[in-house]
């Protein structure tokens, strides 16, 4: 596949991720912050987000497995996750976190567990999509092309 085709694929994939709500405008803001002085900024932030996600999802799982459940503790983890997902533009994850927080407030265990499952799913989807995005970027760069930015 040549550079032009790869670039088209990348643009389409980015557009799809935005359209389907996986990413929001904050992700474009991150891309705007990337330049020659900080060429891997987006990937670095996303990697941090992946680490953060795994840590927080584990924390939530543990917290929900306790008897009795400390909903304040669960909420603290969700609040953190909501913050970091908002910061990277992970819109769907952020939205599930918002719902999750409501269930924490009303101490609805079933609702919380459902949200946790949803979060794991959304995170998994997002991770796959982003990794595909970065792979395309790598291929383009390897072929000597430049990365098209999201408008």
């Amino acid at each position: 596949m040549d550079v032009l085709q790869l670039q088209r694929k990348l643009r389409e994939h980015q557009a799809a991720m935005l359209r389907e709500g996986f990413l929001d405008d904050q992700f474009s803001q991150l891309q705007k912050l990337q330049d020659e002085s900080s060429p891997d900024f987006v990937i670095e932030v996303v990697k941090m987000f992946f680490d953060d996600s795994e840590k927080l999802l584990n924390n939530m799982t543990r917290a929900l497995g306790q008897v009795p459940v400390d909903f304040k503790q669960v909420d603290a983890h969700v609040h953190q996750y909501k913050g970091s997902s908002a910061s990277v533009g992970a819109a769907r994850v952020k939205n599930v976190c918002a719902t999750f927080r409501n269930f924490c407030e009303t101490q609805n265990l079933e609702g919380c567990v459902r949200c946790l499952q949803q979060l794991q799913q959304e995170y998994s989807l997002l991770k796959n999509n982003l990794q595909y995005l970065f792979r395309l970027q790598e291929e383009i760069q390897a072929a000597g092309g430049s990365i098209p930015t999201i408008e």
């Binding site: 932030v45 913050g83 970091s84």
Partner: protein, 241 residues
Amino acid sequence: MGMAAAAATESQQFHVLAVDDSLIDRKLIERLLRTSSYQVTTVDSGTKALEFLGLRENDDGTPNTPSISPNNHQEVEVNMVITDYCMPGMTGYDLLKKIKESSSLRNIPVVIMSSENVPSRISRCLEEGAEEFFLKPVRLSDLNRLKPHIMKRSKLKDQDQKQVIPEKIDTLLEVQKQHQPQEEAQPQVQPNLEQQQQQQSLQQNNNNNNSSNKRKSMEQSLLPETTDRTRPRYSGIATVV
């Protein structure tokens, strides 16, 4: 760092201390500030921020306290502190208070960031002396609102500026507007009282939304303010983007 006067117009001379317990947000704010040519130091707690600023625990506000303490970092000049609100232990609000209560630090402009849009939280911070309140995630365009505070600081250093109400209202309204689509660009307000009044009447003429009437009534109910506060106030201007 004795170039402050000459380099007053160059923002790269300005050193911002960013405080946030989130690693991702620290990375983000650092990148935002560096992109805007500020020098940046990041710390992950209010306690560390105070340490970095050289504030000793028993700083009771006595003027010209000689720096005998080995932990005093006063030689590292900080021109602005930008801090997250929600942090474990010392919140951004607690940090703001400590800075404003300190004779050596209270002149440093403080900006608060928060992921939650809580009007009472915002006004509480502004009342306590915060220059601006940013909603997270912070964007490059938000940093434009910092420029007036940094520029003014180097010009007005020890001058007392009493009237601050208009820009606090600007900030409050700006924060509310952030989450509502705003079609018209508001004219930039100049750091000069006369021009400020001109701008306000201009805005009231041009402005056909509710905020100008709201602003007027808020001004009338809040003015005048007799400050028995000893800390100097700056007529900082919020640049409406």
